[in-house]
């Protein structure tokens, strides 16, 4: 099976969908001729024409707002926000318009729209190229929120997202674009070609939204992770020797609560990890749900291991980032309690 980086897989998903469906259009800042600052759309303009893949003015509200109009017309726009940190100017269009159009019009108009955005830190990007704003989407009824952790998932999930009849926020952990980064920033990087989930089938396939994947089976403890943190969790489990079951959520809304609950009922212990700021992060929702559904199976408190409640710093990046050492300590503490 062909090996692809996550960027290649994402590009391939758009390519496959643009070829299959003339209503799929792709635009955003620098995505046309140049192919995007992370090159996710490279070659698409040349292949499908200026009509289907083009540069947008630097106006995130305009990008999302225009895409909503296109979606209402009947297209399936898949737009790029250059960094998730820059989605805020478009947040009103996402929350007040895309998310509620079907509901408020009782299905008279709908919004099949995908908004891709690179997310997460680890690239020395400071406070404006590192954020993980997923919780700002999961709170909004009407949105689906997806965070892939591998090339194979990224392609299958993105195809599902483009085919979905409702707006999907597609958060791409940029630190995973080129390899399964596990938080060991001081070690040489493993490329996707050496990882089994770097195997990406050609052509059309989907991974359904709303299904988690168990990345590692274990009996002692459940780790809930998504995106980059899946790989950090794998490293932490190996390094600590904790018999952790690692669940890759893949989709935050809708959430695969069944898989989560089954695992926590089995292990009785749960650690949640994400890169976003702690307070009101998606970990809070996960913690609340696990507590609500598995209360009588929990042996020790659920722990959250996350970015701190500060902006994402430039120089102290690795102190902010919840890496394998910090997560490993949490795993051991949870086992020792």
């Amino acid at each position: 099976m062909p090996r692809r980086t996550m960027i290649e897989a994402i590009r391939d998903a758009m390519d496959v969908m643009m070829a299959r469906d003339a209503n799929v259009v792709v635009f955003g800042e620098d995505v046309g001729y140049f192919g995007g600052v992370f090159r996710a759309t490279q070659g698409l303009q040349a292949k499908y024409g200026h009509n289907r893949c083009f540069d947008a003015p630097i106006n995130e509200s305009g990008i999302v707002g225009a895409a909503i109009g296109m979606a209402a017309y009947g297209l399936r726009p898949c737009v790029e926000i250059q960094f998730a940190d820059y989605m805020y100017p478009g947040y009103d269009q996402i929350v007040s318009e895309a998310a509620r159009l079907r509901y408020r019009s009782n299905g008279d108009f709908t919004c099949p729209l995908v908004i891709r955005m690179p997310t997460g830190g680890g690239i020395s990007g400071g406070e404006t190229h590192s954020q993980s704003p997923e919780a700002l989407f999961t709170h909004v009824a009407g949105l689906k929120t997806v965070v892939p952790s591998s090339p194979r998932d990224a392609k299958g999930l993105l195809i599902s997202a483009i085919e979905d009849p409702d707006p999907v926020i597609f958060l791409e952990p940029k630190r995973l674009y080129n390899g399964p980064f596990d938080g060991h920033h001081d070690r040489p990087m493993t490329p996707w070609s050496k990882h089994h989930l770097g195997e990406v089938p050609d052509g059309h396939y989907t991974i359904p939204l709303g299904q988690a994947a168990i990345r590692r089976e274990g009996n002692a403890l459940t780790v809930l992770a998504y995106g980059t943190m899946v790989h950090v969790a794998m490293a932490a489990a190996v390094e600590t020797g904790v018999d952790a079951e690692i669940i890759d959520l893949r989709t935050l809304v809708p959430l695969d609560l069944e898989t989560i609950a089954a695992s926590v009922r089995k292990t009785g212990r749960c650690v949640i990890v994400h890169e976003a700021t702690l307070t009101s992060g998606f970990g809070a929702e996960l913690s609340a749900l696990v507590q609500e559904t598995c209360f009588y199976h929990l042996e020790v408190p659920i722990k959250r291991v996350t970015g701190w409640d500060t902006p994402y710093p430039h120089a102290q990046e690795w102190d902010y980032f919840p890496g394998p050492a910090r997560l490993g300590r949490a795993l051991l503490e949870t086992m020792e309690q």
């Binding site: 707002g65 296109m70 108009f109 609560l257």
Partner: protein, 410 residues
């Protein structure tokens, strides 16, 4: 810089406030028929004076004059009159319903009826409006059933929107009427996006954006103009300048620019101002702009100069912020009276027929209202279900909403 006088903040204020005497003498009103009609493919730079004038067709004597006249037949004009009268009667009844507690909220069009009623008639089937809450004339002039509008206003069991949306925020795709948002200006850029989609698909349908004078200050107004200008989107962008936001006069949004239409000039977008209380002028300008869009010549910005005679909504009383007599002093008159007069001058109408039509229209509106009320009003009779609250958030209900609906037992 010690030699400079201290700075001061300039806060624009309307000429008069309650207690004062309204005075519109400084508002320049060009003579009907005096503004040229350029070809639709004129260079925007060559017609920039249109952004500072007012295109008018009906003169004081009720005659249609000048290069923008003579586009509509008697029967079309009679239709137009009926639409405007229907909208006004509809508004009056629904205002009363709101006061009677049959719904929570209402927004009327008094004084602005010509804008949406006339514009609608210049469009073709399949074109899409992205309206605000004050363009119900688009529906009425397209013969959308009054009873369905009322069902929506009452949030009753037949409400096409299932009680989810506030009154007057209608939606009707098949009437080219995009779901109205409660948020200002968001729909302006969506209209541009829809128009871009039509161009991408090599369609011939065009889009129409609508915005109020106050809402032009919103940032999505800019987004829309940038995108429309860059991609030469087939869209008509309407600004309904009814002189007031809520309590805020148009000077706060307009600032130092002479007009709202002028905003288009910085984008190379042809910009026209039209007498919004002149059915014929609105129609003529609409036709011009729509033809531009349809011929792939790109966007047009139109400022409709009108006046909001009533309150902003049922939640405010304009007497708190402007003289009561201000609407009477408004120099562009009443759109219904002006069109009626024109039709009489044309020999196609009379006072008697007008009175009769008024009575008939009222009957029609009341009949619709009775029918709607049989299906319930906000707090009485038939209601949308609690189930409807949980449905339609997504096409397929996800597990967490299933759980929540189950919790309620519906």
């Amino acid at each position: 810089m010690i030699d400079h006088a201290p700075l001061t903040l300039h806060v624009p204020e309307p000429a008069v406030r309650p207690g004062g005497t309204p005075d519109f003498s400084s508002v320049r009103i060009p003579k009907a028929g005096s503004v040229a009609r350029p070809p639709v493919d004129a260079d925007p730079e060559s017609i920039r004076d249109l952004a500072y004038s007012i295109i008018r067709v009906l003169n004081r004597d009720g005659e249609a004059v000048g290069p923008w006249a003579n586009l509509l037949s008697d029967s079309q004009l009679l239709d137009g009159l009926r639409h405007m009268m229907t909208l006004r009667a509809f508004d009056a009844r629904m205002l009363m319903s709101q006061r009677q507690g049959k719904t929570s909220f209402y927004m009327q069009h008094m004084g602005e009826e010509a804008v949406s009623c006339a514009f609608r008639k210049a469009l073709s089937p399949g074109d899409m409006n992205f309206p605000t809450y004050r363009q119900a004339g688009l529906l009425i002039a397209d013969d959308y059933p009054l009873v369905d509008m009322m069902n929506q206003i009452y949030s009753n069991e037949r409400d096409p929107l299932k009680g989810r949306q506030m009154p007057v925020l209608y939606s009707s795709r098949k009437n080219g009427f995009f779901s109205v948002s409660g948020n200002l200006a968001t729909q302006y850029i969506q209209a541009v996006g829809w128009a871009m989609a039509s161009a991408i698909k090599n369609d011939t349908r065009i889009a129409v954006g609508w915005i109020g004078d106050g809402a032009t200050a919103e940032s999505d107004f800019h987004a829309a103009l940038v995108f429309a200008s860059t991609y030469k989107a087939p869209v008509v962008l309407n600004i309904v300048n009814n002189q007031w936001a809520i309590s805020t006069f148009q000077g706060i949004a307009r600032g130092g620019s002479g007009t709202f239409a002028a905003r288009g000039l910085g984008f190379g977008i042809p910009a026209l101002r039209v007498d919004g209380n002149d059915y014929l002028a609105v129609y003529a300008v609409a036709r011009w702009a729509i033809e531009r869009a349809r011929r792939n010549l790109g966007p047009t910005l139109i400022e409709h100069v009108t006046y909001r005679v009533g309150a902003h909504s049922t939640s405010d009383d304009p007497a708190a912020y402007r003289p009561k007599a201000e609407s009477d002093a408004w120099p562009l008159g009443d759109p219904i009276i002006r069109l009626k007069k024109h039709l009489i001058v044309r020999g196609a109408w009379s006072e008697e027929r007008h009175n009769q039509a008024e009575a008939e229209i009222l009957d029609t509106v009341i009949a619709a209202q009775k029918e709607a009320e049989q299906h319930g009003t906000l707090h009485a009779g038939g209601q949308p279900s609690v189930r409807d609250m949980f449905e339609g958030v997504y096409e397929q209900m996800p597990p967490h909403l299933h759980r929540q609906r189950h919790e309620v037992g519906v």
